[in-house]
Symmetry: C2
Subunit: 231 residues, 2 copies
DNA sequence: CTTTGTGAACTAGTTCACAGCC
DNA sequence: GGCTGTGAACTAGTTCACAAAG
């Protein structure tokens, strides 16, 4: 693979850097749409909301892709980062929990754009089981939690998204993991226990609002305690 | 306020600590539901997914609330942290974007439990404007973006949630800020530009999946590059 | 004994500032 | 001139380990 030949081992990237790579890919896609062939660290950083130095440091972990005095080639950089993130392959995903949030996620276009394909729908509510949701042009039928294992095996899914109530989340997670899933995105308000080598990330929507509320509540005396933003 | 009399100025809390406080409140609520009167840092930390030392350090920024040899009183600790976060008051919130995600957020119970009350619904789609969504027992009518200012003023909202497509997010954000909102939770895939002293937090759902995919993609050679989890 | 609270040591992340290259 | 790439300095965050308290 030519585009990676100059790159360093991607496994050794700092976690903070990895967390910013998706935003870089997005911004580069936007650049490409705007017809730009090259982009400087200052411009790219501005559209991501990050300092130029941080951006350059992040990219330096992947290798040397820029041209001094010019900037980065948009297409090269985008392909390189997308490669590192695994965007070139398809990621089948099982979605557990088809209430309001789960349904919203099923219809969410952002997954498909980045290689994630929802291939299975699970819910415990008998009123929902058996119904069909159209996701990305495919008609998927919602199945009960007892079919998690079967669904994972049939679809080859390696990742699961949990959008159930907190009370059901751990059990569903256990089933996903037992079936071989090794990455879980958790929207439930509970800390999931998983074996080592299983990746978990949690999105706690209400907590984010509370953090925002805290800063507002104490603003006036707060020094620099605001949310991260570019300098 | 007696419960804060022993506390340090909350404005000087480290950002990382603030980000964990909501999880502590949740875990303490769960403790209370379980009938526990006291809880040790080890137990509480385990249910949050954090190390005991980190938990104790976090709490030490708020003051001294534990009893050596015993632990923390669940009710005292919960009240104290909730106070610091501003949970004792109601936070009216305007929700901009009533597509799948916005609707899911409108129905999301987690907001109400923590003092956030959705008091206004905005969308640009003429097919949605005028329709009614029932949120927390109240019937709210969806209004067009040109009514953002009016809605904010009528409801006294200080916070906004943006769940629009990326293309509309900045404009809606500008309207919210112009109307006096000073905290924005952004689900759109774009970095919002705001004046200083306005708080913004972004939730990028697809990015979270990509981060998870990265670790999976490179697992085997990755050393300790997994998502944060307790020790 | 058990468990908190916290300085000190350590680790991760960010910013600076400039050499090197175009 | 402009811009990248990167060591060095700095800042924030975490963990350690133990004295103090019940």
């Amino acid at each position: 693979m030519l585009s990676l030949s100059r790159g360093r081992s991607p496994a050794s990237l700092p976690a903070a850097t990895v967390a910013r790579l998706p935003a870089y890919v997005d911004a580069l896609a936007e650049c490409a749409r705007g017809g730009h062939v090259t982009v400087s660290s200052v411009n790219l950083a501005a559209s991501v909301g990050v300092t130029p130095a941080k951006l350059r440091k992040d990219l330096s972990f992947l290798g040397s892709f820029g041209t001094r005095g010019v900037g980065y080639r948009v297409d090269v950089l985008r392909t390189t980062i997308a490669d590192v993130l695994g965007c070139h392959r398809e990621w089948p995903v099982v979605l557990v929990g088809c209430g309001h949030l789960g349904t919203a996620l099923a219809h969410f276009g952002g997954f498909g754009e980045r290689g994630f394909r929802i291939v299975g729908l699970i819910d415990a509510d008998s009123a929902i089981i058996g119904t069909t949701i159209t996701v990305g042009g495919r008609h998927l039928q919602v199945r009960g939690p007892e079919h998690i294992s079967q669904t994972v095996h049939q679809t080859g899914a390696e990742m699961g998204v949990i959008a159930t109530p907190a009370s059901a989340a751990q059990e569903c997670c256990d089933r996903l993991v037992a079936a071989g899933v090794s990455g879980v995105l958790n929207f439930a308000a509970i800390d999931l226990q998983v074996p080592p080598h299983i990746g978990v990330r949690r999105i706690d929507i209400a907590a984010e609002l509370q953090i925002l509320a805290f800063h507002q509540w104490h603003r006036g005396s707060a020094p620099g305690a605001h949310a991260e933003r570019s300098a």
